[in-house]
Symmetry: C2
Subunit: 341 residues, 2 copies
DNA sequence: CTGAAAGCGCTTACAG
DNA sequence: CTGAAAGCGCTTACAG
């Protein structure tokens, strides 16, 4: 295995100089640098990251905690993070962690708290104080995307605002009987994504002078297509109380609801308007009106923020402000129309 | 930062003994071990993996190369791998790599070839000789799942067999005009998953005495739901040549085809039977007949194989044979029925 | 600009 | 069973 000593010998310099020449830190004569680089290339030298980490304390590795890989939003975020990290010369260590539990504890105590990652990006998970403390105690920056973590920068769209936007779209179309398919625990966990969206829905309804309890039905469901399908089947099954419009907490839920409507012979948008949130890759195909967000780009932004927290040179010094909500946009398609008179 | 020297001092032994007591390698008096463990626990000592790697050459880290994260099969495999690796005490470094190109080269040369991973699991990618050589040259085992790599163990279902199974299901139902929605390049890359499935389709048709050219249409498409939708729209659009049954190379393609049929007013299964491959999480909801496979479990098996190649004790010594195809199973639902007379 | 030396935090022969 | 010492492969003050 080629070591830096070999490079040094070949170039006729000391290991110290070879190291400086290769890393770019410290000053080296132009001619010397050239010789060292040539020597390194000739034997295919690649510095051992372990040895380097041992002395610098930096691993060039970022841990990503994510509850799902196979849901559209999360998959896109993960791909975005991966791409950006690779570009920055960092590795990505994946921790696919959902619920609290012994496994999650083990990851925090054993994997994350060791010196193997320089920073952590937590996607869609709510970190608790003790989890964060272990990381911070070792000087590892934590960036939260979509989830929450005390004291850490939080990157997210304005979820309540997105819900308001979606709901107002329906209101402007003249709908008054509007139902909301919310995520699980939306009512209980106020700070969660699903909680924020529920809150936005309620406030938009209230602002329109519509009673959010009597006039609107809220039903919680797994935020997946089958979840939306099942929930919508229940919700729409009873013709008497059927809403004229449906705001789904995510596009996957909305798509499931579209399929349920179809199964029940309810025309979309003729008999029922449906709007979601996400900008899912299937949304266009299904003609789903939605509030788009850009998870791949969000992943990239999270990496950019991490690089800045790590003091990486080359990290944009721009106005990346984690308190500014991420971009979103209402895209109107054929799943929503005016309320029947 | 607690170091092993602190543990040793606290326990009143040498660093060597502390190391032996903690790692379980070499013999240590029971009483000594207890003291060392207590000391370690009391200051929350966790050995630096960098320092350990530097001397042992082992990183306890496995690299996973995967072309997509957001397609059902790949996402499931990734989750399965992650879970198994975590259980084995290994980290997972993710490389989301699709096409050949400068980025892929960089990953192989720069990331993978360094000493940061002990082994590589390649999911659904075809590794070429030079890529493999770099890894093997450094003694890193490579396990291939779904894709291919010269000389490496290959884990996969019998893709041609799965296609035969699906096609014969349609044949037994009396269908003769059967079309196949194949993956891209299926005709060209014979060893690829889509190539094998196309081959299986053709051989089943030939065995049934059906001309695979005249009687059956093969159309290549992106293996996604929108891909299947668009391809099926084209295929089914022309009433004159409409097949009575469709074998889709994946469930996502099959689901797209179901939606296209519906859009065209073609009843499934009344006017058109559809069968896929995968066992996608939406298959049940859509009543899709499919040849199920079990990607999460496949990921676990890949990890098991890697552990064995790494000589991990505790790795099952069972009859894990990479030449035996992985399990699959035809699941008949409501998307297929007998051919109209 | 360059080199000799120390040191990052472990593990592993080698003695005893 | 235990300890002293060497060494894994780098980087970084410290001198010059």
């Amino acid at each position: 295995m080629a070591a830096i000593g070999d490079v040094a010998r070949l170039a006729g310099v000391s290991k110290a100089t070879a190291s400086r020449a290769l890393s770019g830190r410290g000053s080296v004569a132009v001619e010397t640098r050239r010789r060292v680089e040539a020597a390194a290339a000739s034997i295919g030298f690649i510095a051992s990251p372990d040895a380097a980490s041992l002395v610098t304390g930096r691993t060039k590795n970022v841990g990503v905690i994510i509850p799902f890989v196979n849901r559209w939003f999360f998959g896109e975020v993960l791909e975005g993070i991966e791409r950006a990290l690779l570009t920055a010369g960092y590795d990505l260590t994946l921790y696919n962690l959902a619920d609290r539990g012994p496994e999650r504890e083990r990851v925090f105590d054993f994997f994350l708290a060791r010196k193997r990652v320089d920073a952590v990006i937590a996607v869609g998970v709510d970190l608790v104080e003790t989890e964060l403390a272990g990381l911070e105690g070792r000087g590892k920056p934590v960036v939260s995307l979509g989830g929450s973590a005390p004291r850490s920068p939080r990157l997210a769209i304005d979820d309540a605002g997105a819900a308001v936007l979606a709901t107002e779209h329906l209101l402007h179309l003249g709908h008054t009987r509007i139902a909301h398919l919310a995520g699980r625990e939306a009512d209980r966990s106020v700070e969660s994504v699903q909680g924020r969206r529920l809150r936005g829905f309620r406030s938009a309804m209230a602002d329109a002078g519509l009673d959010p309890i009597a006039g609107a039905t809220v039903r919680e469901t797994e935020m997946t297509l089958p979840g939306g399908y099942a929930a919508a089947l229940q919700l729409l099954g009873h013709p008497a109380h059927r809403p004229s419009a449906l705001f789904a907490a995510s596009d996957e839920v909305a798509l499931g609801a579209m399929l349920a409507a179809e199964r029940l012979g309810i025309a979309v948008p003729g008999d029922l308007s449906i709007v979601g949130i996400d900008g899912h890759e299937y949304a266009e195909m299904f003609g789903l009106t939605t509030v788009e967000q850009y998870p791949g780009e969000q992943g990239r932004v999270a990496v950019e923020l991490v690089m800045r927290l790590l003091g990486e040179t080359g990290a944009a010094e721009g106005a990346l402000d984690s308190s500014t909500p991420l971009p979103m946009r209402l895209v109107v398609r054929s799943s929503t129309t005016t309320a029947a008179r």
